[in-house]
């Protein structure tokens, strides 16, 4: 129990520090690159790169990041409430909105999912066949 608290006390602040540092650097990079990608996405790529290059250890940031990811949906609630505030703009383009953002999005979602899955299985079958062949020789 004591060990848990001790590690948590260190890991949450260090995780926050690293994530916000990545975000801040992401902001700089985003500005420098003429807003090629938004700062949060730049920060995400920087964090991945820093982990991959072993500049930071996974344990320093893992627990905090897991919590952020776990609660990310909640963070969209206040913005989504704003959708209701703009209901008039939404209604003004309603048929297009429903068909493209609703139906077309779902179709796109399933098409991309099926397509990737199909490709993934084909690669797997090919790998398996090659392995099988290798084993038989």
């Amino acid at each position: 129990m004591r060990k848990f608290h001790k590690s948590l006390l260190l890991e949450i602040p260090s995780g926050l520090l690293i994530i916000y540092a990545a975000l801040w650097l992401g902001k700089l990079l985003s500005k420098a690159s003429g807003e090629l990608l938004p700062s949060s996405i730049m920060g995400m790529l920087l964090l991945t790169a820093a982990l991959q290059l072993r500049w930071i250890k996974l344990t320093w940031v893992e627990r905090t990041a897991n919590q952020f990811v776990r609660w990310m949906s909640l963070l969209f609630v206040p913005i989504s409430i704003g959708l209701v505030e703009n209901i008039e703009t939404l209604l003004q383009a309603l048929p297009a909105m429903l068909l493209t953002c609703g139906l077309a999005t779902l179709i796109l979602l399933v098409a991309v999912g099926r397509f990737y899955q199909y490709w993934e299985r084909r690669v797997q079958l090919k790998d398996d066949a090659e392995q099988h062949q290798g084993g038989a020789q």
Binding site: I19, S73, L74, I81, A93, L109, V112, G113, R114, E120
Partner: protein, 224 residues
């Protein structure tokens, strides 16, 4: 009363998530339940949305670090991703192409003006980039922001059940699909189901935003 908005929002979400997990019904989305109850409460008590946002706005400020945090699942899956990257890039490039063309054509077909069609074109892209794209193709930024949010909500609420219903059971495929079609909101939803989904969602989010930013200024003027 004002100070209650934030604990109320968090409390509702926690309760809705617990309910969903207990009943194990994926259609019972915590974001949707929280939204419905909050909107009903705000409307019946005649509370303005800007008043609500003033006190719960810091949740929104945590969105940026949350997107940064997606770097961790992305790193954990990096070895798998590196191997598959060329194929993933081709799939997402094609998807971005289809997303833009289908959106503009469907919008025009139901009688939307070319401004509305252009505003909806980047609907599957994360908000900050979508707004920039919209501006470039002479759309309306406000309308784009709403379309992006609406798209994300559709994906977050029914995306996962629809994927499963249509036979998409591969966790990687689910992540790629959500990140491509429903940006960060869809990724946040699918990341709750596992690290692999989160990582592939995050990757798809980045790639589809980049490709759309390149494709929209070329395609939209041709179509709309």
């Amino acid at each position: 009363m004002n100070f209650f908005y934030l604990p109320l929002t968090i409390g509702l979400f926690v309760a809705a998530r617990a309910l969903q997990q207990r009943l194990a019904i994926s259609w019972l989305n915590p974001v949707l339940i929280t939204l419905v109850i909050l909107v009903a409460a705000l409307l019946s008590l005649d509370i303005s949305f800007s008043d609500y946002n003033q006190y719960s706005g810091w949740l929104t400020q945590l969105l940026e670090p949350a997107v940064v945090a997606l770097g961790v699942p992305l790193y954990k899956q990096l070895n798998d991703i590196k191997r598959e990257l060329p194929q993933i890039m081709v799939i997402i490039l094609l998807s971005a192409l289809i997303a833009i063309i289908s959106t503009v054509l469907v919008a025009l077909a139901v009688g939307a003006s070319s401004t509305i069609a252009a505003s909806l074109a980047p609907k599957s892209v994360t908000t900050p980039i979508a707004v920039l794209i919209s501006d470039q193709v002479s759309g309306e930024a406000a309308l784009t922001a709403i379309a992006v949010l609406f798209t994300g909500l559709v994906g977050a609420v029914i995306g996962s059940p629809v994927l499963k219903l249509c036979g998409v059971h591969s966790t990687k495929a689910q992540g790629i699909a959500m990140g491509t079609a429903c940006h960060a909101l869809g990724t946040a939803r699918i990341a709750e189901e596992g690290h692999q989904q989160g990582a592939y969602g995050a990757l798809a989010l980045v790639l589809s935003a980049t490709f759309s930013a390149m494709l929209c200024p070329i395609l939209v003027p041709l179509l709309a």
